[in-house]
Symmetry: C2
Subunit: 232 residues, 2 copies
Amino acid sequence: MLTIVAIAETAALLGEPARAAMFSALMDGRALTAAELAATAGVTPQTASGHLGRLIEAGLLVVEKQGRHRYHRLASPAVARMVESIMQVAGAAPRQARPPRVGPADAALRAARTCYDHLAGRLGVGIADALVARGHVELGADGGAVTPTGEAFLASFGIAARLDGARRGRPFCRPCLDWSERRPHLAGVLGASLCVRCLELGWLRRRPGTRALEITHEGRRGFGERFGVDAG
Amino acid sequence: MLTIVAIAETAALLGEPARAAMFSALMDGRALTAAELAATAGVTPQTASGHLGRLIEAGLLVVEKQGRHRYHRLASPAVARMVESIMQVAGAAPRQARPPRVGPADAALRAARTCYDHLAGRLGVGIADALVARGHVELGADGGAVTPTGEAFLASFGIAARLDGARRGRPFCRPCLDWSERRPHLAGVLGASLCVRCLELGWLRRRPGTRALEITHEGRRGFGERFGVDAG
DNA sequence: CCGATGCTAAGGGCGCGGCCGAAGTGTCAC
DNA sequence: GTGACACTTCGGCCGCGCCCTTAGCATCGG
């Protein structure tokens, strides 16, 4: 099997704390510079450069040149799913009884953040729970689906247009285990559409330099009224 | 982030050719002995023992003692999904224009095999294609769903009983990229149920010592009549 | 033109970990 | 019991690769 070495090489690219930290930082779906990634990984820029070169060579990352900056991001949703699945196994395995201490910096992340292209944190899990509780979405371990009433609800929320490309009932919903809440939130096309729409409505704002999302005043009201989610 | 090291450690466990080969061998969902895994990995038993100990310690594998044999298998479907996602990325990345040579031993594997708990190979992809073409199943990149006509078809095929635990329309279908065909086949509860049912009906038989599946005479007829799949 | 900034390329130290040989424990057969 | 078999543990060799320092290119500002 020649493919065995390809599997091992791919996995080994994630099997190093410095590179794993870079992937974790890139899991918000945005593009970061080599210097930013070096800082989050805790290595010098030239070491980070070597890592990034290998990751680009392997096709896990893509780079976009802008002036003297080079922005790196995950090459595809498939890479994001791979990292997700590894995080899920890594989080489930250890016998860490009590969750690691919650630093003040983590507080914002745990409240609301992006996970590649969709919402995560308490807000993401809360929205998923609300949609399931109201019968708009059904979630299992292996997939998710939007019900007819859910389609109507989503249309009224303004994201029907994005789903027109897919036929009615077409699967576009996927569960994604939240690393801080240890419960699933919504990923896939539906999750991405919800995230974009909330940003569009001004309910959420990206915080520069972090993957945390700020819930605006309108957002607090909107999430409560439309989803029954307490985003306090 | 303390979790970074956990991610790196988990990924590193797969980032070694010997261990990657073991995972690949275990992806058929069955339990193998340490000696068998050592042989497929191309290392001595004592080296394999060390690897297996680490994998068990990390919770990726579970072991079952039977006499003087110790049978190892993947610890959970989550681990299988992780390996799947890595294989998908590893297979998509390289610029291997022509597929690796097809040995005679590989021929049976490419025709029909198990992938953890469901069907793969030409047969697995063929069944997925047939179900999609007939409107019984809808497949996207992020998930799949069974249509009402599909539910009726599956009930007539004798796997409705297994799905009773889940409500009607509940998601239980998931795409899984086939490494030999480079196209999706059916995974998740649906894929597993189809596999079990085909074995039950005597359409397929496991070949001892390999993950290849033998298509019986009844199977050849059955797949053609019920699915419109040429399993020749 | 100059320096500063962002990143890349080469060279050496060094520690982690895979691998094997040899020896030890448990299990089955006779 | 004795031997064979499956597997694990221990000790030591050795090489891969991570990291840093030093040096070399591009790009922007003045």
